[in-house]
Symmetry: none
Subunit: 200 residues, 4 copies
DNA sequence: TATGAATGAGCATTCATTCAT
DNA sequence: AATGAATGAATGCTCATTCAT
């Protein structure tokens, strides 16, 4: 009896074989030939599982981003000695750390691609990223509320934090911005009860 | 004697002729042949004024972004009846408005390109963008401080607002985010004296 | 299963299809598009078998020069009624004959290219040419020694004969030199026991 | 009264300004723009004195080769302590010496160009080169005859020596030939009264 | 006479995708 | 199901030459 291969499973396997390739070359410079070689299959076979190159690239990126998110989640959950504030700082800094240099550049490439080609798939994936990100933030903030580090209404900050974080990623990539300092100020303004509006 | 041309001036002129082209096709799909045609000059002439294609594209983008910033500045200064809060909202919403749809997409493309190729020129330009943006914000916030709409320390918010705004641009481009709503919440949290940190 | 092609064999076939093309246009004016058309394959296919245009051109030239050498060898071996002196004359004259006009011009182009771009491949090939040339000369000279037409030490002349011949090719190409006459004199000086140095 | 410039004189002057340029870049990579800059005149002006680029290049090359020949002549005449044999060796070796490395490569380029484009001008120039070369050789050989180093008939060797020398230049450029050794053997065979033909 | 701005034909090379086997 | 040979459209850039001033 012939082996029936689960297409979705095979897509994953192909994508998985390319992680190293992506880290070495970046998304932009990858070719289908390289992917086929890395996955140890024929070029034609790729097209049995993916409609076009973009689909493959996307599958690999998804794998990556999910990986980063898992890392974040694990890192946060495994550090129960940290305060909410510390966790949030840790959480926001992780992608800027030296250890994540290559992953960071892949993430930037994802942003770059996604910015200009908002297909239903990219959108869905990006929404999914948001959610994962927010779940983690929620966990952290909830702990903060329990610890009396934060008010109940801090949950409402989540989208804003996300925008801040994304914007920071972009500006760190482009300009001469010091991520650590900016995150420090930001967290300070949250936890420091700084009031900007005049109380009238 | 042959005509002596002001190179910098000519660069501008060439770039200017291509604004429409860029709006139609987007940055990614533009070719040197198209640029030459749009500027009504020969392909070779392009290379008398620009070292390579990237330089031309960059010049055109600069023109665009500067235009947007000028529009912002004028819009803010010409609306003296608006409160600080209204101005800030207006300021943050402008790029998302229907009238700026095409310019918005050019700006996204700039971000997309800059994210993955941080040349000294892109960095310098991006830093310059920051500054212009911050100058406008400062004007708005200073007015708010004078009006007693904002505390003195509100000036410190500027970088954060910028990151928030950039992040929002990215997420609006990629995901299903409602810019108007998010900006509303954000401004609310600034002007509403919402305290997130527990007062201990 | 897809067809597996012998790359080396295919290189030869492609080169072979271009012999006529080269003879018509000369090496300098050939384009990859022409080569592809002559070989009746796609332009991209060329690059499956050759790293760049130079490699293709080189392969075609090799084909030509090998052909000339084979012709020489055959001509020499098939004319056993000729004396050593006659054979040597025949050998040196062949490339200048009307029948080899086009091949001669290809050889000149090879010299022209090789003169200014001594890659390892050109060098190896040229060394190989030397050797073939010398093998033929050796055969001829050995026969002369057996026939008592030449001294034993005549073998030592081989490199000098080769330089003479190459130099003559260059000068015939460039100046108004009569190959037949020059070869005649040269052979005369060899077989005529002419002594140039004073016997002291 | 306007200055009437002798066209031929101006051609020379332009060519002269480019000697350094040629030595740096080689003939192949030179552009008209570079020539104009080096000569400190406009690009258009070049075409007042030369019909096309080839003509300019040719003028520069002529200058060079003449220079080399002058050097040779001077070197030979200024070394009156040398024997005829030593002079001939010196004469043949000069172009291969380290001091003439760049000039040698220019000469190779000349050969390369001339091999494939035998215009009346190139031919005339090449013939002229022959003559200069032969004049020098004649001087050397005549001295040898006076010194009893050589027979009267040695004069007849001149063309052969020239072919040998040209061939050697080509082979040194292309293959792995040791000029010094080959010249040594050649001179030895001339001055050593080696007889190749059997005395019957 | 001198200029230098403008030109555009010309060309090697890449790579996603197809399809015969 | 798997393959990999074949493809050809698509594009940035150079540079000799012209010609208006």
């Amino acid at each position: 009896m012939a082996i029936i291969v689960d297409k979705e499973e095979k897509r994953r396997l192909i994508a998985l074989s390319c992680k190293g390739l992506l880290l070495e070359n970046g998304i932009k410079n990858i070719t289908v030939a390289q992917i086929a070689k890395a996955a140890n299959i024929g070029k034609g076979t790729i097209y049995e599982y993916f409609a076009n190159k973009d689909e493959i690239v996307f599958e690999i990126i998804m794998l990556f981003v999910e990986q980063i998110q898992d890392d974040l989640l694990i890192a946060i959950n495994n550090n129960n000695t940290l305060s909410c504030r510390e966790k949030m700082e840790y959480f926001m800094m992780l992608v800027f750390s030296e250890a994540y240099k290559k992953e960071f550049s892949i993430y930037k490439e994802f942003l770059s691609i996604a910015l200009c080609s908002a297909t239903p798939d990219t959108v869905a994936f990006r929404v999914n990223c948001h959610n994962s990100f927010e779940v983690i933030l929620e966990t952290i903030i909830n702990q903060g509320i329990e610890n009396d580090e934060l008010h109940q209404n801090a949950i409402a900050m989540i989208p804003m934090i996300r925008y801040f974080h994304t914007g920071l990623i972009v500006d760190v990539s482009i300009g001469r911005v010091n991520a650590h300092m900016e995150i420090g100020s930001f967290i300070n303004s949250i936890f420091g009860n700084i009031i900007y509006g005049e109380n009238r």
